[in-house]
């Protein structure tokens, strides 16, 4: 797409989430918010479904009392589709594919807020800034300087902690080596108390994430849509496929 030097690094980043050990504890949800300067919206807006979380944990009720239980907790985040429905509908190329990381980027300063991308996303993982959400002083002190603060009228979503990927790639490049497996951790992966989340390079067949994504328990969300997600889920209820 462009001929900048950066795009010469070609990795495909991906994630595997093991639903057998995800406990639904929400640590990833809060870690993501802290890392990525995500706004909180308050009770009323949250009730309207306008929460800005880039990752959410889904569960459904199954059965009737007393034979009732929840389905396995399922963290849902941007699936970083290979064929992303959000991309072709953006009139201003704010939703674009990154050549060098093989993820879906959201370019905040291009976004004009048409929300076409969110409408077209089958996973409902794009969050729109309906307002300039208040962050009373001195809460702004914890803002991560590596991550853009978004304003009203802009769409945002998970980008696999791109700032961490880039800094890992830069470090490896400056040391003249290729990136190590497990060197780059997303905030959600790093915090997960049960190690349910694995992150790494799918273009390296020997990486942990590649191996796990080939597990017989693996499935992808809404596979029939052909979106080619970079996130694989491992079905709960058993350990080894």
């Amino acid at each position: 797409m462009d001929d900048h030097a950066e795009s010469e690094v070609k990795h495909k980043w991906g994630m595997v989430i093991d639903q057998d050990i995800c406990t639904g504890c929400q640590a990833c949800v809060v870690a993501c918010a802290m890392e990525n300067n995500i706004s909180f919206v308050g009770e009323e807006d949250a009730g309207y479904g306008r929460s800005m979380q880039w990752i959410r944990i889904e569960r459904f009720w199954e059965g009737e009392y007393p034979e009732v239980r929840t389905t396995d907790f399922q963290p849902v985040l941007c699936q970083q589709c290979g064929k992303a429905p959000c991309e072709p509908v953006c009139p201003v190329f704010a939703s674009v594919h990154s050549d060098s990381q093989q993820i879906n980027l959201q370019v905040y300063n291009r976004c004009v807020g048409t929300r076409y991308c969110a409408n077209n996303c089958p996973y409902q993982v794009r969050e729109f800034n309906w307002r300039d959400y208040e962050r009373p002083t001195p809460l702004e002190n914890q803002l991560n300087p590596s991550v853009t603060v978004r304003r009203k009228g802009v769409m945002e979503k998970c980008n696999f902690c791109l700032q961490r990927i880039v800094s890992g790639e830069d470090k490896a490049a400056s040391e003249g080596r290729s990136i190590l497996d497990g060197e780059v951790k997303t905030a959600c992966m790093q915090v997960c108390p049960t190690n349910a989340i694995t992150f790494g390079r799918l273009d390296d067949p020997e990486s942990e994430v590649s191996k796990l994504s080939r597990n017989a328990r693996g499935f992808i969300l809404l596979e029939e849509l052909g979106t080619e997600p970079a996130v694989t889920y491992l079905k709960g209820g058993s350990t080894h496929g």
Partner: protein, 727 residues
């Protein structure tokens, strides 16, 4: 300010502001050891765009996880787990992640204040004045009328205050907190003493077990050391190839932990111990061995009936136990928070003894503690001691009350009368960094630093297989004109002079830490140091000290099986229709998380409700009563009343209602105040055999109010437009 200001000028001005702050805090404790500079003068050890990491201890709950705080240009940006720390090994929970929102909370108390009780008006006082007030209390008030009420952590402040009270001749500090009630810590310690002859928190080796039967232990949420348990749970599930651990949860309401279980059995609250006895008897019968004395005369069938489950289920559990190599039985807060809680805990621990799963991988050990620090430390206080304190306050026997690390107005049952008793105390001084309910009822608030600005240590007494002391250090310079409470007390001792300062000779908190930690220099830890200063720098670098290897305590050969234990009976008669199950919110825990907006916004794991309280009720029961989702109902106990919206919870016994603990603040800053309800308003004062509050024994009845309030939930229902859209 001019309207025309460029970025460079702005940075200069902002830098000047920070510099001014640095000067103001120049005599504060952190500046002696850690210096944070403004943009203009970057110290050599920081680089633009690079994080500087500090190891310290998370203080959001009593577990004591190690954390690494990533700072940039003097600001704390992100918290990660400390990979070396034996409790959490690099991980944290949601509460730990949000700790920065305590440090940068917009509602902090910014400097010492004098205030009118129960009013928002505050008047600034200087720290010198504050020191004088406390020093004159130390020298003029009869020592036995001075009371220190502290939170339940085993930390430096408790040790220091213990020395001060003994020097003063004042009563020993009282340590309490609602989290220890939800964990039933005293009961666990007592049961452990009775079963294993040693008073310690048991260590449950989840990691190596292949079957776990949890009797109301919400160990993936708040129980003892949830991050440690979560790590164990992960390995329990997938640590061994081809062998996935199997989890069974027995409790009246499906908790987040139960939602992860393979089987959930909704039992009548209080029947846990009798079920444990029944399981023991069934297992022995199936094995065809001689019935140990403990299980003589135990008949499983009527026990299953009382517990409200089918006998076949119990029989099936006995089969599971027979098939497993390392079955582990965990007594949780919901089994111990009853009048028969101690007996329940004993019966459940005894099952581990019966299955010969003591001191073995996958079994029960006792948590190791660091003797050098732990020796002479008085154990956690029990509820009667709090009750006695309230009585003394009411009868004018307390002149000066110091409160730190606990919010009794919020945490203690309303029926205890703490709020009324505090009115009879002439001087109440709070050290809370936040305007919590108790601070608002005080005469003075002398705000402590938040934990991320503080020095200290905390003994680890559960969740670690290595004995450990976790260390705290300031990761940023104090943000406001607050003062570390330990340093403040030392200053007050110095000011009071005389014998007191001779007995409390420490220059500052860091010197106190060095004195307390000096025995560890020669102890066998995972690092060694020739002398205390090197030791301290390593202590700060690694975030604490711990033994080089696992040193779990093997409880030996318990003899409980030959003793006789009365089958614990659950209390049954009541004029009220429902059991009330107050449970600590997995996100807000004891309510101290409620002032952090990101925790408020985080959906509850099972209901997905945010920013509010709710009442969980079985849909069938609700249907019979004509109650629908989001109806506000009134819950009435013998001790109090509250109103909140209903969440139809599919997985709760029909005769039980549950309310999460953590909301219902009447103060505590803009994000907490006036939000939801506090189930402590409903609780009675019944105790169990270990003098822990029987928090799960309260009965209630329900009334409709005819009103509705739509809860803000993440799940399916979109919008809060009112009835028409509530599908």
């Amino acid at each position: 300010m001019t309207g025309n200001i460029n970025r460079r000028d702005f940075l200069k001005i902002a830098g000047a502001g920070v510099a001014a702050t640095a000067v103001l805090t120049g005599c504060g404790p952190a500046s002696r050891y850690v210096i944070r500079q403004p943009y203009a003068q970057m110290p050599e050890y920081t680089y633009n765009g690079q994080f500087t990491d500090y190891a310290t201890t998370c203080r959001e709950c009593p577990a004591g996880c190690g954390i690494i705080v990533r700072t940039m240009q003097g600001r704390a940006i992100k918290i990660e787990g400390n990979p070396d720390h034996p409790v959490n090994k690099g991980k944290t929970c949601a509460r730990g992640q949000a700790a920065l929102q305590g440090l940068y909370n917009p509602d902090r108390i910014k400097n010492p204040v004098r205030k009118e009780r129960d009013s928002d008006s505050m008047e600034d006082v200087s720290w010198d004045e504050a020191v004088n007030i406390v020093a004159s209390a130390f020298s003029t008030i009869p020592a036995k009328e001075i009371v220190f009420l502290l939170g339940s952590k085993d930390d430096h402040l408790f040790d220091l205050v213990s020395e001060i009270t003994s020097a003063l001749g004042a009563p020993a500090p009282i340590r309490y907190g609602i989290q220890q009630v939800f964990d039933s810590r005293s009961t666990l310690m007592d049961a452990s003493r009775q079963v294993f002859n040693q008073s310690a928190i048991p260590f449950f080796d989840l990691e190596n077990a292949d079957l776990v039967i949890s009797f109301g232990a919400n160990f993936l949420e708040t129980f003892l050391s949830p991050v440690s348990f979560s790590r164990g749970y992960s390995k329990f599930r997938k640590g061994k190839v081809g062998k996935r651990g199997y989890l069974v949860q027995l409790e009246a309401r499906l908790s987040q932990t139960a939602a992860n279980a393979d089987e959930w059995l909704p039992i009548t609250p209080g029947t846990e111990g009798s079920l444990a006895m029944a399981l023991g008897a069934l297992v022995v019968e199936k094995a065809g061995s001689v019935l140990p004395g403990l299980y003589v005369g135990v008949d499983a069938k009527p026990i299953a009936d009382t517990a409200g489950i089918q006998f076949e289920k119990l029989d099936h559990l006995a089969d599971l136990i027979m098939q497993s190599e390392h079955p582990l039985f965990i007594p949780g807060g919901f089994s111990m928070g009853h009048a028969n809680g101690l007996e329940n805990a004993q019966a459940i621990l005894a099952l581990n003894v019966l299955m010969k799963n003591i001191g073995l991988p996958g079994g029960v050990f006792l948590s190791p503690v660091v003797q050098e620090i732990e020796k002479n430390r008085q154990k956690l206080n029990t509820f009667p001691e709090i009750y006695d304190l309230v009585h003394r306050m009411k009868t004018g026997k307390v002149n000066t009350l110091f409160i730190h690390g606990i919010n009794p107005h919020f945490e203690l049952p309303n029926s205890l009368g703490f709020k009324e008793a505090i009115k009879e105390v002439p001087t109440v001084i709070s050290f809370s960094p936040f305007p919590d309910e108790t601070a608002m009822a005080a005469d003075y608030i002398f705000p402590d630093h938040t934990p991320l600005e503080s020095w200290g240590y905390q003994s680890i007494n559960s969740g670690s297989d290595q004995s450990a002391v976790s260390g705290s250090q300031p990761v940023v310079a104090p943000f406001y004109k607050t003062r570390g409470t330990s340093d403040f007390f030392l200053a007050a001792c110095l000011e009071a002079g005389g014998e007191l300062v001779a007995k409390i000779p420490y220059k500052d908190i860091v010197e106190f830490l060095k004195v307390k930690l000096k025995d560890l220099v020669s102890a066998e830890g995972f690092y060694s140091a020739p002398e205390i200063n090197t030791f301290m720098s390593l202590f700060q670098q690694f975030g604490g000290w711990w033994s080089a290897n696992a040193n779990l305590i093997d409880p030996g050969n318990p003899t409980i099986l030959t003793s006789s234990l009365k089958i614990p009976q659950a209390s049954t008669n009541s004029d009220y229709d429902f059991f009330l199950l107050p449970y600590p919110s997995p996100i807000l825990s004891d309510g101290s998380g409620a002032n952090k907006p990101w925790l408020q916004e985080t959906p509850d794991p099972t209901t997905t409700v945010t920013w509010n309280s709710w009442i969980e009720i079985n849909p069938k029961t609700a249907d019979e009563l004509g109650i629908q989702d989001d109806d506000i109902i009134r819950v009435i106990s013998e001790f109090g009343i509250l109103e909140a919206p209903v969440y139809l919870y599919p997985a709760i016994r029909p005769n039980v209602i549950a309310i999460p603990f953590g909301q219902g603040h009447t103060a505590y800053g803009r994000y907490a105040k006036g939000r939801g309800v506090n189930p402590a308003d409903l609780l009675g004062l019944g105790l169990n055999g270990s003098l822990d509050l029987a928090f799960a024994d309260t009965r209630v009845r329900l009334e409709k109010t005819g009103r509705k309030q739509v809860l803000s939930r993440m799940e399916s229902r979109m919008g809060v437009y009112g009835d028409s859209t509530n599908e």
